[in-house]
């Protein structure tokens, strides 16, 4: 006998009896409670179900209208399987990045930069960005991360970017050092990073099935890490102040953009605060 059989008996107003019921109750304290006192708790919980009102038909009609409206390109994209939306979001950075690197080439010191370190840094940025995108595109039929978990993931994303910027600089021949003051040069990197990371954020927001601020924050952090990944291939600066202000800060800029967008949306959107 299992919990369901015990429940079915109790719903019929019978007290489950016999060796099997007793054996189950001994192993299942919840069923023991439900069966205690002639099943008084189960009787209380067995109130008749809500009657089906006329609202059901109205809800179905309204739902069919919403589904009808899902027929455009966006509706088609949103209904693609989760893995495909995940890959499409991550790959959205590729076209712009390719055209950028075909025009301006890789960082001038790439032949001198320690290969192991370069690969490790790129893997950290890419791996964490993919994990964040996967978490944010997790379908609603699976348990969603709690706000605390989302906050922790965003924080860790920022820590990865800041931690890599704070690593001791590699020893690279001097002529490849960035000319001029590294901090003003950081503005150029920040602008390029925003441009290169933006497709990830935009495509992710277009492909999401359910609009939540938590998801958007995860996408924003991922976009910041993708931008850091691409800047690692573009910029030959190794100065910490440049890397912090021009590269690592991109995660925070994308997060602020999302928060600003959400604020504007809440000001302009429906007053009930729901995000649809």
């Amino acid at each position: 006998m299992d919990c369901r059989e015990i429940r079915d008996q109790l719903l019929l107003g019978k007290k489950p009896s016999g060796a099997e019921a007793e054996a189950h109750a001994r192993a299942c304290p919840s069923c023991l409670l439900l069966m205690a006192n002639e099943g008084s708790l189960a009787r209380s919980l067995a109130a008749p179900p809500d009657p089906e009102g006329p609202e059901a038909e109205r809800t179905l009609q309204s739902l069919e209208r919403s589904i009808e409206a899902e027929r455009g390109v966006l509706g088609w994209l949103r209904s693609r399987p989760g893995w495909l939306r995940h890959v499409a979001t991550a790959a959205s950075a590729v076209p712009l990045a390719l055209s950028f690197f075909l025009r301006s080439g890789l960082r001038p010191d790439h032949a001198y930069y320690p290969l192991g370190r370069m690969l490790a840094v790129l893997a950290a940025f890419a791996g964490f960005a993919l994990w964040l995108i996967g978490t944010a595109t997790r379908p609603l039929h699976r348990r969603q991360p709690s706000p605390r978990a989302v906050g922790l993931a965003v924080f860790l994303g920022i820590i990865v970017a800041v931690g890599i910027a704070l690593l001791p600089p590699p020893e690279i021949p001097d002529p490849h050092a960035l000319p001029g003051d590294p901090v003003p040069q950081a503005w150029r990197c920040h602008a390029v990073g925003l441009l290169l990371g933006a497709p990830v954020l935009l495509v992710a927001l277009l492909l999401r099935r359910h609009a939540t601020l938590n998801g958007a924050l995860l996408f924003a952090t991922a976009a910041g890490l993708v931008a850091n990944f691409l800047l690692q291939l573009d910029c030959c600066a190794v100065d910490r102040s440049h890397l912090l202000s021009g590269h690592a800060s991109l995660c925070i800029t994308f997060i602020l953009l999302v928060l600003g967008g959400a604020w504007v949306h809440s000001m302009l959107g429906p007053r009930d605060g729901s995000e649809r």
């Binding site: 299992d2 919990c3 369901r4 429940r7 079915d8 299942c28 304290p29 919840s30 409670l33 439900l34 008084s40 708790l41 209380s44 919980l45 109130a47 008749p48 179900p49 809500d50 009657p51 089906e52 009102g53 609202e55 059901a56 809800t59 179905l60 309204s62 739902l63 069919e64 919403s66 589904i67 899902e70 509706g75 949103r78 209904s79 693609r80 399987p81 989760g82 379908p139 609603l140 039929h141 699976r142 348990r143 969603q144 706000p147 099935r209 359910h210 939540t212 605060g273 729901s274």
Partner: protein
Amino acid sequence: MAAYVAGDASAFREIFRRYGPVLQGMLRRKVGHEADAQDLLQQTFLQFHRARFDFAPGNLVRPWLITIALNLGRELGRKRRIRRETPLEADPACAPSVSQPLDAREDRERVRAALLRLPESHREVIELHWFQGLPFSQVSSILGASINAVKVRAHRGYERLRDLLGETRQGSVSGRAREESADGLS
């Protein structure tokens, strides 16, 4: 489900008619407001529609729908807390307007009010174990918790419910007794 994924609109209506009332009852117990429950029901099926190509043969429809509804219900609860709205309470004024015996309606409201006084983690387990009749193994996979954790939450939740329902029953019996004695005196 296969027919629905293939684009058969009547299959979707059939799924809605089969699972809609069960989910609506669950959402009413979860959010306590009829209008919110209706809205969440609609969102649940819309999300289900968007996710239809994720559905693998051999999956069960009901746990899918229940997980979507629970996720949306949790989100609404969080929004309410952020906006500092009235805490979740049963709203008898918003109950379905179909006529029913008063006792049945009172019983249902009493259970709903007691459930809303439980911690969310306990309430969800009881919803799935008792009201949906799911085994603990499925409850644990829907909630993403271990079977042992789910069993402990269920036991604590049932204990608390027994106390709460006992209190309200005693309250309503003594209230009725007071009314009867007042009637007798007048």
